[in-house]
Amino acid sequence: MPKELWKGNEAIAEAAVRAGLEAYFGYPITPQTEILEYLSRRMPELGRAFVQAESELGAINMVYGAACTGARVMSSSSSPGVSLMMEGLSYIAGTEIPAVLVNVMRGGPGLGNIAPAQSDYNQAVRGGGHGDYPRIVLAPASVQEAIDLMALSFDLAEKYRMIAMMILDGSVGQMMEPAEMPAMREIRRRDYEWAVNGAMNRERRILTSIYLNPLDEEKTNLRLAERWNEVKTNEVRYKEYFLDDAKYVVVGFGTAGRVALSAVREARAHGVKVGLLRPITVSPFPYEALNQLTGQVEAFLVVEMNAGQMLDDVQLAVRGRVPVEFYGRPGGVVPFHDEILDEIRRLVSGPLAVSSNPRDSWLTRMYRNLKIAVP
Protein backbone atom coordinates (compact mmCIF):
# COMPACT_ATOMS: atom_id res chain seq x y z
CA MET A 1 0.00 0.00 0.00
CA PRO A 2 1.30 3.50 -0.70
CA LYS A 3 1.83 5.90 2.12
CA GLU A 4 -0.88 8.35 2.92
CA LEU A 5 -0.85 11.32 5.22
CA TRP A 6 -2.81 10.17 8.25
CA LYS A 7 -3.90 11.99 11.34
CA GLY A 8 -2.99 9.85 14.36
CA ASN A 9 -6.49 9.45 15.72
CA GLU A 10 -8.00 8.62 12.37
CA ALA A 11 -5.17 6.27 11.57
CA ILE A 12 -5.82 4.41 14.79
CA ALA A 13 -9.48 4.13 13.92
CA GLU A 14 -8.82 2.86 10.42
CA ALA A 15 -6.12 0.49 11.65
CA ALA A 16 -8.60 -0.99 14.10
CA VAL A 17 -11.12 -1.41 11.31
CA ARG A 18 -8.54 -3.18 9.18
CA ALA A 19 -7.58 -5.40 12.08
CA GLY A 20 -11.15 -6.66 12.10
CA LEU A 21 -12.83 -4.44 14.64
CA GLU A 22 -16.39 -5.68 15.02
CA ALA A 23 -17.77 -3.11 17.40
CA TYR A 24 -16.69 0.20 18.85
CA PHE A 25 -18.11 1.78 21.98
CA GLY A 26 -16.97 5.22 23.02
CA TYR A 27 -17.73 8.65 24.31
CA PRO A 28 -16.42 11.96 22.99
CA ILE A 29 -13.46 13.56 24.69
CA THR A 30 -10.67 15.72 23.36
CA PRO A 31 -8.02 14.90 22.14
CA GLN A 32 -9.31 11.52 20.96
CA THR A 33 -12.76 12.43 19.63
CA GLU A 34 -11.66 11.90 16.02
CA ILE A 35 -11.44 8.17 16.71
CA LEU A 36 -15.10 8.11 17.66
CA GLU A 37 -16.14 10.45 14.88
CA TYR A 38 -14.27 8.49 12.24
CA LEU A 39 -15.79 5.23 13.37
CA SER A 40 -19.29 6.71 13.58
CA ARG A 41 -19.08 6.93 9.81
CA ARG A 42 -16.85 4.00 8.99
CA MET A 43 -18.37 1.22 11.07
CA PRO A 44 -22.00 1.51 9.89
CA GLU A 45 -20.68 1.79 6.33
CA LEU A 46 -19.19 -1.68 6.81
CA GLY A 47 -22.23 -3.00 8.62
CA ARG A 48 -20.37 -3.15 11.90
CA ALA A 49 -21.50 -1.93 15.29
CA PHE A 50 -20.87 1.57 16.56
CA VAL A 51 -22.40 2.93 19.73
CA GLN A 52 -21.81 6.32 21.23
CA ALA A 53 -22.28 5.27 24.82
CA GLU A 54 -23.89 7.36 27.51
CA SER A 55 -20.53 7.67 29.27
CA GLU A 56 -17.14 6.04 29.53
CA LEU A 57 -18.60 3.78 32.18
CA GLY A 58 -21.21 2.68 29.73
CA ALA A 59 -18.61 2.31 26.99
CA ILE A 60 -16.24 0.08 28.91
CA ASN A 61 -19.08 -2.15 30.02
CA MET A 62 -20.37 -2.43 26.48
CA VAL A 63 -16.85 -3.47 25.54
CA TYR A 64 -16.94 -5.93 28.42
CA GLY A 65 -20.21 -7.45 27.21
CA ALA A 66 -19.24 -7.60 23.55
CA ALA A 67 -15.78 -8.95 24.37
CA CYS A 68 -17.40 -11.78 26.31
CA THR A 69 -18.81 -13.05 23.01
CA GLY A 70 -15.33 -13.37 21.51
CA ALA A 71 -15.77 -10.39 19.19
CA ARG A 72 -12.96 -7.93 18.47
CA VAL A 73 -14.03 -4.77 20.16
CA MET A 74 -12.49 -1.65 21.58
CA SER A 75 -13.04 1.68 23.20
CA SER A 76 -10.98 4.81 23.28
CA SER A 77 -10.90 7.80 25.55
CA SER A 78 -8.64 10.32 27.21
CA SER A 79 -7.44 10.63 30.77
CA PRO A 80 -10.57 11.61 32.79
CA GLY A 81 -12.67 9.24 30.72
CA VAL A 82 -10.21 6.41 31.27
CA SER A 83 -10.37 7.00 35.03
CA LEU A 84 -14.07 6.22 34.82
CA MET A 85 -13.28 2.85 33.29
CA MET A 86 -11.23 1.49 36.17
CA GLU A 87 -13.90 -0.70 37.68
CA GLY A 88 -14.80 -2.13 34.28
CA LEU A 89 -11.17 -2.79 33.42
CA SER A 90 -10.67 -4.67 36.64
CA TYR A 91 -13.71 -6.81 35.85
CA ILE A 92 -12.48 -7.50 32.34
CA ALA A 93 -9.11 -8.52 33.72
CA GLY A 94 -10.72 -10.70 36.36
CA THR A 95 -12.87 -12.39 33.73
CA GLU A 96 -9.81 -13.10 31.60
CA ILE A 97 -11.21 -11.88 28.33
CA PRO A 98 -9.41 -9.83 25.67
CA ALA A 99 -10.23 -6.15 25.28
CA VAL A 100 -8.51 -3.20 23.69
CA LEU A 101 -8.51 0.35 24.97
CA VAL A 102 -6.80 3.45 23.62
CA ASN A 103 -5.94 6.32 25.96
CA VAL A 104 -4.95 9.53 24.19
CA MET A 105 -3.57 11.19 27.28
CA ARG A 106 -4.00 14.84 28.23
CA GLY A 107 -2.80 17.14 30.99
CA GLY A 108 -4.10 16.48 34.48
CA PRO A 109 -4.98 15.82 37.23
CA GLY A 110 -8.69 16.62 37.21
CA LEU A 111 -10.11 18.40 34.21
CA GLY A 112 -6.67 19.80 33.51
CA ASN A 113 -6.31 20.60 29.86
CA ILE A 114 -6.30 18.88 26.51
CA ALA A 115 -2.60 19.24 25.78
CA PRO A 116 -0.37 16.20 25.24
CA ALA A 117 0.74 14.41 28.39
CA GLN A 118 2.03 11.07 29.62
CA SER A 119 0.80 11.24 33.15
CA ASP A 120 -1.42 8.17 33.04
CA TYR A 121 1.56 5.82 32.87
CA ASN A 122 1.12 4.61 36.42
CA GLN A 123 -2.61 4.20 35.99
CA ALA A 124 -2.09 2.12 32.87
CA VAL A 125 0.90 0.11 34.00
CA ARG A 126 0.46 -0.36 37.73
CA GLY A 127 -2.57 1.01 39.38
CA GLY A 128 -5.91 1.95 38.03
CA GLY A 129 -8.45 -0.66 38.91
CA HIS A 130 -8.59 -2.58 42.16
CA GLY A 131 -6.94 -5.95 42.59
CA ASP A 132 -3.86 -7.51 41.10
CA TYR A 133 -4.08 -7.79 37.37
CA PRO A 134 -1.50 -7.52 34.64
CA ARG A 135 -2.21 -5.78 31.33
CA ILE A 136 -0.27 -5.11 28.22
CA VAL A 137 0.47 -1.44 27.57
CA LEU A 138 1.83 -0.23 24.26
CA ALA A 139 3.16 3.27 23.67
CA PRO A 140 3.52 4.38 20.06
CA ALA A 141 5.61 7.41 19.18
CA SER A 142 4.47 7.95 15.62
CA VAL A 143 1.40 7.52 13.47
CA GLN A 144 2.87 4.50 11.71
CA GLU A 145 3.71 2.89 15.00
CA ALA A 146 0.21 3.58 16.28
CA ILE A 147 -1.19 1.83 13.23
CA ASP A 148 1.09 -1.15 13.67
CA LEU A 149 0.50 -1.44 17.39
CA MET A 150 -3.25 -1.22 16.94
CA ALA A 151 -3.41 -4.55 15.16
CA LEU A 152 -0.86 -5.98 17.55
CA SER A 153 -3.00 -4.89 20.49
CA PHE A 154 -5.87 -7.05 19.32
CA ASP A 155 -3.62 -10.00 18.62
CA LEU A 156 -1.92 -9.83 21.99
CA ALA A 157 -5.15 -9.24 23.89
CA GLU A 158 -6.63 -12.34 22.33
CA LYS A 159 -3.53 -14.45 22.63
CA TYR A 160 -3.22 -13.80 26.34
CA ARG A 161 -6.90 -13.16 27.19
CA MET A 162 -5.86 -9.87 28.63
CA ILE A 163 -6.41 -6.14 28.36
CA ALA A 164 -4.19 -4.46 25.80
CA MET A 165 -4.04 -0.73 26.21
CA MET A 166 -2.43 1.71 23.87
CA ILE A 167 -1.33 4.93 25.54
CA LEU A 168 -0.30 7.88 23.47
CA ASP A 169 -0.26 11.54 24.13
CA GLY A 170 -2.53 14.04 22.45
CA SER A 171 0.17 15.12 20.03
CA VAL A 172 0.44 11.69 18.40
CA GLY A 173 -3.36 11.64 18.18
CA GLN A 174 -3.45 15.04 16.50
CA MET A 175 -0.33 14.72 14.36
CA MET A 176 -0.31 13.88 10.67
CA GLU A 177 2.42 11.73 9.22
CA PRO A 178 2.84 9.61 6.11
CA ALA A 179 1.93 6.08 7.02
CA GLU A 180 1.05 2.82 5.41
CA MET A 181 -2.17 1.08 6.31
CA PRO A 182 -2.14 -2.68 6.40
CA ALA A 183 -4.59 -4.53 4.17
CA MET A 184 -8.07 -5.13 5.46
CA ARG A 185 -8.21 -8.34 7.47
CA GLU A 186 -11.28 -10.45 7.23
CA ILE A 187 -13.43 -10.65 10.30
CA ARG A 188 -13.44 -14.16 11.55
CA ARG A 189 -15.35 -14.65 14.71
CA ARG A 190 -13.42 -17.34 16.48
CA ASP A 191 -15.52 -19.52 18.67
CA TYR A 192 -13.16 -19.33 21.57
CA GLU A 193 -13.69 -22.09 24.06
CA TRP A 194 -14.62 -19.46 26.62
CA ALA A 195 -16.88 -17.22 24.52
CA VAL A 196 -20.37 -16.62 25.80
CA ASN A 197 -22.52 -16.24 22.72
CA GLY A 198 -25.68 -18.30 23.23
CA ALA A 199 -25.15 -21.98 23.93
CA MET A 200 -26.41 -23.20 20.53
CA ASN A 201 -26.41 -26.84 21.60
CA ARG A 202 -23.03 -26.91 23.24
CA GLU A 203 -22.51 -26.91 27.02
CA ARG A 204 -23.50 -23.56 28.44
CA ARG A 205 -20.75 -21.15 29.42
CA ILE A 206 -20.38 -18.57 32.11
CA LEU A 207 -18.06 -15.61 32.30
CA THR A 208 -17.65 -13.98 35.68
CA SER A 209 -15.01 -12.43 37.89
CA ILE A 210 -16.39 -13.79 41.14
CA TYR A 211 -14.40 -16.30 43.15
CA LEU A 212 -16.13 -16.34 46.47
CA ASN A 213 -13.68 -18.75 47.96
CA PRO A 214 -10.45 -16.82 48.48
CA LEU A 215 -8.41 -19.87 47.54
CA ASP A 216 -10.10 -19.93 44.15
CA GLU A 217 -9.49 -16.24 43.70
CA GLU A 218 -5.91 -16.75 44.71
CA LYS A 219 -5.51 -19.42 42.07
CA THR A 220 -6.95 -17.00 39.55
CA ASN A 221 -4.47 -14.37 40.63
CA LEU A 222 -1.63 -16.83 40.28
CA ARG A 223 -2.89 -17.94 36.89
CA LEU A 224 -2.84 -14.31 35.78
CA ALA A 225 0.66 -13.91 37.14
CA GLU A 226 1.81 -17.03 35.35
CA ARG A 227 0.33 -15.83 32.09
CA TRP A 228 2.06 -12.54 32.67
CA ASN A 229 5.36 -14.38 32.84
CA GLU A 230 4.70 -15.65 29.34
CA VAL A 231 3.99 -12.13 28.20
CA LYS A 232 7.20 -10.93 29.81
CA THR A 233 9.14 -13.64 28.03
CA ASN A 234 7.61 -13.13 24.58
CA GLU A 235 6.37 -9.63 24.15
CA VAL A 236 8.85 -7.06 25.36
CA ARG A 237 9.39 -4.53 22.61
CA TYR A 238 11.55 -1.42 22.47
CA LYS A 239 13.60 0.56 20.02
CA GLU A 240 17.30 1.24 20.37
CA TYR A 241 19.22 4.19 18.99
CA PHE A 242 23.02 4.54 19.18
CA LEU A 243 23.32 2.15 22.07
CA ASP A 244 26.35 0.18 20.92
CA ASP A 245 28.96 2.40 22.45
CA ALA A 246 26.72 4.57 24.59
CA LYS A 247 28.05 5.79 27.93
CA TYR A 248 24.83 7.65 28.61
CA VAL A 249 21.41 6.37 27.82
CA VAL A 250 18.22 8.33 27.60
CA VAL A 251 15.02 6.38 28.27
CA GLY A 252 11.71 7.79 27.12
CA PHE A 253 8.49 6.44 25.62
CA GLY A 254 6.12 7.91 23.07
CA THR A 255 6.57 11.55 22.18
CA ALA A 256 9.08 12.13 24.96
CA GLY A 257 11.25 9.39 23.49
CA ARG A 258 10.87 10.84 20.07
CA VAL A 259 11.84 14.32 21.15
CA ALA A 260 14.77 12.77 22.97
CA LEU A 261 15.95 11.26 19.68
CA SER A 262 16.51 14.75 18.31
CA ALA A 263 18.48 15.68 21.39
CA VAL A 264 20.54 12.49 21.27
CA ARG A 265 21.38 13.07 17.64
CA GLU A 266 22.49 16.58 18.34
CA ALA A 267 24.60 15.43 21.27
CA ARG A 268 26.17 12.74 19.10
CA ALA A 269 26.95 15.45 16.56
CA HIS A 270 28.90 17.07 19.38
CA GLY A 271 30.70 13.83 20.08
CA VAL A 272 28.80 12.75 23.17
CA LYS A 273 28.42 8.97 23.42
CA VAL A 274 24.75 8.97 24.21
CA GLY A 275 22.06 6.59 23.08
CA LEU A 276 18.33 6.21 23.42
CA LEU A 277 16.14 3.34 24.50
CA ARG A 278 12.50 3.89 23.66
CA PRO A 279 10.19 1.29 25.24
CA ILE A 280 7.34 0.33 22.96
CA THR A 281 5.79 -2.03 25.46
CA VAL A 282 5.87 -0.11 28.70
CA SER A 283 4.18 -3.14 30.18
CA PRO A 284 5.88 -5.61 29.94
CA PHE A 285 8.70 -3.19 30.59
CA PRO A 286 12.15 -3.81 29.05
CA TYR A 287 13.79 -4.41 32.42
CA GLU A 288 16.28 -6.86 31.02
CA ALA A 289 17.49 -4.57 28.23
CA LEU A 290 18.15 -1.86 30.79
CA ASN A 291 19.75 -4.35 33.13
CA GLN A 292 22.17 -5.32 30.38
CA LEU A 293 22.95 -1.71 29.54
CA THR A 294 23.76 -0.97 33.15
CA GLY A 295 27.11 -2.67 32.67
CA GLN A 296 28.27 -0.31 29.98
CA VAL A 297 26.62 2.93 30.97
CA GLU A 298 27.68 5.74 33.29
CA ALA A 299 24.25 7.21 33.83
CA PHE A 300 20.68 7.03 32.63
CA LEU A 301 18.39 9.93 31.91
CA VAL A 302 14.66 9.28 32.05
CA VAL A 303 12.56 11.74 30.10
CA GLU A 304 8.80 11.85 30.49
CA MET A 305 5.90 14.21 29.98
CA ASN A 306 4.89 13.81 33.61
CA ALA A 307 6.40 14.18 37.05
CA GLY A 308 8.28 10.89 36.98
CA GLN A 309 6.35 7.66 36.58
CA MET A 310 8.24 5.29 34.28
CA LEU A 311 11.21 6.50 36.28
CA ASP A 312 10.36 3.93 38.95
CA ASP A 313 10.59 1.12 36.43
CA VAL A 314 13.93 2.30 35.18
CA GLN A 315 15.21 2.50 38.74
CA LEU A 316 13.90 -0.99 39.42
CA ALA A 317 15.89 -2.22 36.44
CA VAL A 318 19.06 -0.31 37.23
CA ARG A 319 18.97 -1.11 40.96
CA GLY A 320 21.27 1.67 41.99
CA ARG A 321 24.28 0.45 40.07
CA VAL A 322 24.64 3.74 38.19
CA PRO A 323 22.88 7.06 38.62
CA VAL A 324 19.45 7.53 37.11
CA GLU A 325 18.49 11.11 36.45
CA PHE A 326 15.11 12.51 35.56
CA TYR A 327 13.71 15.22 33.36
CA GLY A 328 9.97 15.69 33.06
CA ARG A 329 7.48 18.25 31.84
CA PRO A 330 4.13 17.57 33.47
CA GLY A 331 0.74 19.19 32.94
CA GLY A 332 0.52 19.08 29.16
CA VAL A 333 3.89 20.57 28.23
CA VAL A 334 5.86 18.88 25.45
CA PRO A 335 9.58 19.38 26.00
CA PHE A 336 11.70 20.82 23.21
CA HIS A 337 14.71 18.83 22.23
CA ASP A 338 17.15 21.47 23.41
CA GLU A 339 15.92 21.07 26.97
CA ILE A 340 16.82 17.42 26.82
CA LEU A 341 20.11 18.29 25.22
CA ASP A 342 20.86 20.51 28.21
CA GLU A 343 20.10 17.59 30.47
CA ILE A 344 22.42 15.31 28.54
CA ARG A 345 25.13 17.95 28.90
CA ARG A 346 24.46 18.07 32.62
CA LEU A 347 24.91 14.30 32.84
CA VAL A 348 28.14 14.41 30.92
CA SER A 349 29.62 17.20 32.98
CA GLY A 350 28.77 15.36 36.22
CA PRO A 351 29.34 14.66 39.01
CA LEU A 352 26.31 12.51 39.64
CA ALA A 353 25.40 10.40 42.63
CA VAL A 354 23.09 7.45 42.89
CA SER A 355 20.08 8.83 44.69
CA SER A 356 16.95 7.19 45.87
CA ASN A 357 14.80 9.86 44.40
CA PRO A 358 15.95 11.72 41.28
CA ARG A 359 12.64 13.60 41.41
CA ASP A 360 13.92 15.75 44.22
CA SER A 361 16.78 17.28 42.29
CA TRP A 362 14.62 17.54 39.20
CA LEU A 363 12.08 19.57 41.13
CA THR A 364 14.78 21.93 42.30
CA ARG A 365 16.02 22.37 38.74
CA MET A 366 12.50 22.90 37.45
CA TYR A 367 11.85 25.62 39.93
CA ARG A 368 15.08 27.27 38.94
CA ASN A 369 14.40 26.88 35.21
CA LEU A 370 10.83 28.00 35.39
CA LYS A 371 11.61 30.99 37.46
CA ILE A 372 13.63 32.05 34.48
CA ALA A 373 11.36 30.80 31.75
CA VAL A 374 8.04 31.71 33.35
CA PRO A 375 8.28 34.96 35.27
Binding site: E54, Y64, C68, G198, A199, I206, L207, T208
Partner: protein, 257 residues
Amino acid sequence: MTTDNLVYERPEAFTETPTHYCPGCTHGVAHRLVAEVLEEMGVVNKTVGVAPVGCSVFAYNYFDADFVEAPHGRAPAMATGIKRVLPDRVVFTYQGDGDLASIGMGEIVHAAARGENITVIFINNANYGMTGGQMAPTTLPGMKTTSSPNGRDVETQGYPIKVSEMLSTLDGVGYCVRRSLHDPKNIRLAKKAIRAAFETQMRGLGFSMVELLSTCPTNWGMTPVASMKFVAEHMVPAYPLGDYKVSDAVKQIKVQG
Protein backbone atom coordinates in the same frame (compact mmCIF):
# COMPACT_ATOMS: atom_id res chain seq x y z
CA MET B 1 -61.06 -44.44 32.86
CA THR B 2 -58.20 -42.23 34.00
CA THR B 3 -54.49 -41.94 33.14
CA ASP B 4 -51.64 -40.28 34.96
CA ASN B 5 -50.72 -36.87 33.73
CA LEU B 6 -47.95 -34.50 34.62
CA VAL B 7 -49.33 -31.08 35.35
CA TYR B 8 -46.21 -29.23 36.37
CA GLU B 9 -42.53 -29.95 36.75
CA ARG B 10 -39.36 -27.99 37.31
CA PRO B 11 -38.43 -26.29 34.03
CA GLU B 12 -35.71 -27.84 31.97
CA ALA B 13 -34.22 -24.42 31.45
CA PHE B 14 -33.09 -24.68 35.06
CA THR B 15 -29.90 -26.42 36.06
CA GLU B 16 -30.03 -28.82 38.96
CA THR B 17 -28.35 -26.40 41.32
CA PRO B 18 -30.50 -25.34 44.26
CA THR B 19 -30.58 -21.58 44.62
CA HIS B 20 -28.78 -19.75 47.39
CA TYR B 21 -31.80 -17.55 48.04
CA CYS B 22 -33.32 -17.38 51.48
CA PRO B 23 -36.40 -19.55 52.01
CA GLY B 24 -39.46 -17.95 50.49
CA CYS B 25 -37.60 -15.21 48.60
CA THR B 26 -39.47 -14.47 45.40
CA HIS B 27 -36.25 -14.03 43.45
CA GLY B 28 -36.82 -17.77 42.98
CA VAL B 29 -40.28 -17.25 41.54
CA ALA B 30 -38.99 -14.66 39.11
CA HIS B 31 -36.24 -17.03 38.02
CA ARG B 32 -38.72 -19.80 37.45
CA LEU B 33 -41.00 -17.64 35.36
CA VAL B 34 -38.12 -16.51 33.16
CA ALA B 35 -36.98 -20.09 32.74
CA GLU B 36 -40.47 -21.23 31.81
CA VAL B 37 -40.90 -18.46 29.27
CA LEU B 38 -37.53 -19.06 27.62
CA GLU B 39 -38.31 -22.75 27.46
CA GLU B 40 -41.77 -22.23 26.05
CA MET B 41 -40.37 -19.90 23.43
CA GLY B 42 -37.68 -22.45 22.60
CA VAL B 43 -34.88 -19.90 22.89
CA VAL B 44 -32.91 -21.09 25.92
CA ASN B 45 -30.26 -22.25 23.55
CA LYS B 46 -29.65 -18.89 22.03
CA THR B 47 -30.05 -16.82 25.15
CA VAL B 48 -27.36 -14.82 26.86
CA GLY B 49 -28.26 -13.69 30.34
CA VAL B 50 -26.57 -10.89 32.24
CA ALA B 51 -26.51 -11.31 36.00
CA PRO B 52 -26.18 -8.25 38.23
CA VAL B 53 -24.45 -7.60 41.50
CA GLY B 54 -27.05 -8.25 44.16
CA CYS B 55 -28.63 -11.34 45.65
CA SER B 56 -29.13 -12.60 42.11
CA VAL B 57 -25.41 -12.38 41.35
CA PHE B 58 -25.36 -16.16 41.01
CA ALA B 59 -28.36 -16.30 38.67
CA TYR B 60 -25.97 -17.87 36.17
CA ASN B 61 -25.79 -20.96 38.29
CA TYR B 62 -29.47 -21.66 37.87
CA PHE B 63 -30.33 -21.10 34.23
CA ASP B 64 -29.17 -23.63 31.71
CA ALA B 65 -28.08 -20.83 29.39
CA ASP B 66 -24.98 -18.81 28.61
CA PHE B 67 -24.44 -16.08 31.13
CA VAL B 68 -22.15 -13.23 32.03
CA GLU B 69 -21.90 -11.36 35.29
CA ALA B 70 -21.91 -7.56 35.20
CA PRO B 71 -20.42 -4.96 37.51
CA HIS B 72 -22.96 -3.44 39.88
CA GLY B 73 -25.51 -1.53 37.81
CA ARG B 74 -23.84 -2.01 34.43
CA ALA B 75 -25.84 -4.98 33.16
CA PRO B 76 -27.70 -2.92 30.54
CA ALA B 77 -24.39 -1.72 29.09
CA MET B 78 -23.02 -5.25 28.93
CA ALA B 79 -26.27 -6.45 27.38
CA THR B 80 -25.97 -3.68 24.81
CA GLY B 81 -22.47 -4.80 23.92
CA ILE B 82 -23.60 -8.40 23.55
CA LYS B 83 -26.73 -7.64 21.56
CA ARG B 84 -24.90 -5.33 19.18
CA VAL B 85 -22.47 -8.04 18.12
CA LEU B 86 -25.01 -10.88 18.32
CA PRO B 87 -28.28 -9.31 17.18
CA ASP B 88 -29.98 -12.68 16.67
CA ARG B 89 -29.48 -13.86 20.21
CA VAL B 90 -31.91 -13.30 23.07
CA VAL B 91 -30.23 -11.06 25.61
CA PHE B 92 -31.69 -10.22 28.98
CA THR B 93 -30.57 -8.65 32.20
CA TYR B 94 -31.85 -9.59 35.61
CA GLN B 95 -31.38 -6.74 38.07
CA GLY B 96 -32.29 -5.70 41.56
CA ASP B 97 -33.53 -2.27 42.53
CA GLY B 98 -30.23 -1.18 44.00
CA ASP B 99 -28.47 -2.34 40.90
CA LEU B 100 -30.89 -0.91 38.35
CA ALA B 101 -32.39 2.11 40.06
CA SER B 102 -29.49 3.38 42.11
CA ILE B 103 -25.97 2.85 40.80
CA GLY B 104 -27.16 1.72 37.36
CA MET B 105 -29.63 4.50 36.66
CA GLY B 106 -27.59 5.97 33.82
CA GLU B 107 -27.20 2.65 32.04
CA ILE B 108 -30.84 1.62 32.27
CA VAL B 109 -32.19 4.97 31.11
CA HIS B 110 -29.88 5.00 28.13
CA ALA B 111 -30.46 1.39 27.14
CA ALA B 112 -34.15 2.26 27.19
CA ALA B 113 -33.68 5.52 25.31
CA ARG B 114 -31.63 3.78 22.65
CA GLY B 115 -34.45 1.30 22.27
CA GLU B 116 -31.86 -1.40 22.80
CA ASN B 117 -33.45 -4.72 21.86
CA ILE B 118 -32.94 -6.34 25.20
CA THR B 119 -35.25 -7.51 27.96
CA VAL B 120 -34.85 -6.41 31.54
CA ILE B 121 -36.27 -8.31 34.49
CA PHE B 122 -36.31 -5.82 37.32
CA ILE B 123 -36.74 -7.09 40.86
CA ASN B 124 -38.09 -4.41 43.16
CA ASN B 125 -37.76 -5.65 46.71
CA ALA B 126 -37.48 -2.23 48.32
CA ASN B 127 -34.01 -2.79 49.69
CA TYR B 128 -30.44 -3.96 49.08
CA GLY B 129 -30.83 -7.62 49.87
CA MET B 130 -27.33 -8.84 49.32
CA THR B 131 -25.46 -6.37 51.48
CA GLY B 132 -27.81 -6.90 54.37
CA GLY B 133 -30.82 -4.70 53.90
CA GLN B 134 -29.85 -1.09 53.30
CA MET B 135 -32.20 1.48 51.87
CA ALA B 136 -32.77 1.28 48.13
CA PRO B 137 -34.20 4.01 45.89
CA THR B 138 -37.41 1.98 46.07
CA THR B 139 -37.60 1.74 49.85
CA LEU B 140 -41.01 2.96 51.00
CA PRO B 141 -41.27 6.18 52.99
CA GLY B 142 -40.95 5.40 56.67
CA MET B 143 -39.61 1.91 56.04
CA LYS B 144 -36.80 0.88 58.38
CA THR B 145 -33.62 -0.47 56.84
CA THR B 146 -30.09 -0.75 58.14
CA SER B 147 -29.27 2.60 56.58
CA SER B 148 -32.56 4.27 57.43
CA PRO B 149 -32.73 3.02 61.01
CA ASN B 150 -35.52 5.41 61.96
CA GLY B 151 -37.49 4.75 58.83
CA ARG B 152 -36.84 6.38 55.47
CA ASP B 153 -37.17 10.10 56.00
CA VAL B 154 -38.18 11.50 52.64
CA GLU B 155 -36.95 14.94 53.61
CA THR B 156 -33.33 13.86 53.86
CA GLN B 157 -33.30 10.48 52.17
CA GLY B 158 -35.51 11.22 49.22
CA TYR B 159 -38.60 9.72 47.70
CA PRO B 160 -39.01 6.30 46.11
CA ILE B 161 -38.32 6.19 42.40
CA LYS B 162 -41.06 4.70 40.29
CA VAL B 163 -38.92 3.18 37.63
CA SER B 164 -41.60 1.93 35.27
CA GLU B 165 -43.33 5.27 35.27
CA MET B 166 -40.05 7.00 34.60
CA LEU B 167 -38.77 4.78 31.83
CA SER B 168 -42.10 4.76 30.05
CA THR B 169 -41.51 8.42 29.17
CA LEU B 170 -38.79 7.26 26.76
CA ASP B 171 -39.51 6.75 23.07
CA GLY B 172 -37.15 3.81 22.75
CA VAL B 173 -39.26 1.70 25.09
CA GLY B 174 -41.45 -0.92 23.44
CA TYR B 175 -42.82 -2.60 26.52
CA CYS B 176 -42.68 -1.51 30.14
CA VAL B 177 -45.00 -2.89 32.79
CA ARG B 178 -45.12 -3.52 36.51
CA ARG B 179 -46.32 -6.81 37.97
CA SER B 180 -46.10 -8.44 41.36
CA LEU B 181 -45.17 -11.87 42.68
CA HIS B 182 -47.25 -11.87 45.84
CA ASP B 183 -49.97 -14.36 44.94
CA PRO B 184 -50.85 -16.97 42.32
CA LYS B 185 -52.94 -14.64 40.23
CA ASN B 186 -50.26 -12.01 40.07
CA ILE B 187 -47.59 -14.59 39.41
CA ARG B 188 -49.57 -15.73 36.37
CA LEU B 189 -49.87 -12.16 35.16
CA ALA B 190 -46.18 -11.67 35.72
CA LYS B 191 -45.37 -14.64 33.57
CA LYS B 192 -47.53 -13.32 30.75
CA ALA B 193 -45.72 -10.02 30.95
CA ILE B 194 -42.32 -11.69 30.85
CA ARG B 195 -43.45 -13.55 27.75
CA ALA B 196 -44.61 -10.32 26.15
CA ALA B 197 -41.30 -8.68 26.97
CA PHE B 198 -39.25 -11.41 25.31
CA GLU B 199 -41.61 -11.43 22.34
CA THR B 200 -40.98 -7.70 22.03
CA GLN B 201 -37.28 -8.40 21.83
CA MET B 202 -37.65 -11.28 19.37
CA ARG B 203 -39.49 -8.99 17.01
CA GLY B 204 -37.01 -6.16 17.38
CA LEU B 205 -39.57 -3.79 18.81
CA GLY B 206 -37.28 -2.04 21.22
CA PHE B 207 -36.49 -2.08 24.87
CA SER B 208 -38.65 -4.22 27.12
CA MET B 209 -38.80 -4.35 30.88
CA VAL B 210 -40.92 -6.08 33.48
CA GLU B 211 -40.74 -4.64 36.96
CA LEU B 212 -41.62 -7.27 39.55
CA LEU B 213 -42.57 -6.43 43.11
CA SER B 214 -40.71 -9.00 45.14
CA THR B 215 -40.08 -9.96 48.73
CA CYS B 216 -37.03 -9.97 50.95
CA PRO B 217 -38.19 -11.91 54.00
CA THR B 218 -34.73 -11.92 55.56
CA ASN B 219 -34.10 -8.22 55.58
CA TRP B 220 -37.70 -7.23 56.07
CA GLY B 221 -37.61 -9.43 59.18
CA MET B 222 -40.82 -11.21 58.24
CA THR B 223 -41.84 -14.73 57.37
CA PRO B 224 -42.18 -15.43 53.67
CA VAL B 225 -45.95 -15.55 54.03
CA ALA B 226 -46.06 -12.25 55.88
CA SER B 227 -43.78 -10.78 53.25
CA MET B 228 -46.26 -11.66 50.53
CA LYS B 229 -48.89 -9.84 52.51
CA PHE B 230 -46.61 -6.86 52.92
CA VAL B 231 -46.23 -6.65 49.18
CA ALA B 232 -49.97 -6.72 48.67
CA GLU B 233 -50.69 -4.20 51.38
CA HIS B 234 -47.82 -1.78 51.15
CA MET B 235 -45.85 -2.24 47.97
CA VAL B 236 -48.69 -2.48 45.49
CA PRO B 237 -50.34 0.76 46.64
CA ALA B 238 -47.02 2.57 46.38
CA TYR B 239 -46.09 0.95 43.08
CA PRO B 240 -49.32 0.49 41.15
CA LEU B 241 -49.41 -2.53 38.92
CA GLY B 242 -50.11 -1.94 35.29
CA ASP B 243 -48.92 -1.43 31.76
CA TYR B 244 -46.89 1.74 31.64
CA LYS B 245 -45.96 1.55 28.03
CA VAL B 246 -46.98 -0.92 25.37
CA SER B 247 -46.07 0.45 21.97
CA ASP B 248 -48.54 0.05 19.16
CA ALA B 249 -46.31 -2.49 17.46
CA VAL B 250 -46.08 -4.55 20.64
CA LYS B 251 -49.84 -4.43 21.07
CA GLN B 252 -50.13 -6.33 17.77
CA ILE B 253 -48.22 -9.33 19.14
CA LYS B 254 -50.45 -12.37 19.52
CA VAL B 255 -48.89 -15.22 21.42
CA GLN B 256 -50.23 -18.73 21.52
CA GLY B 257 -49.71 -20.83 24.63
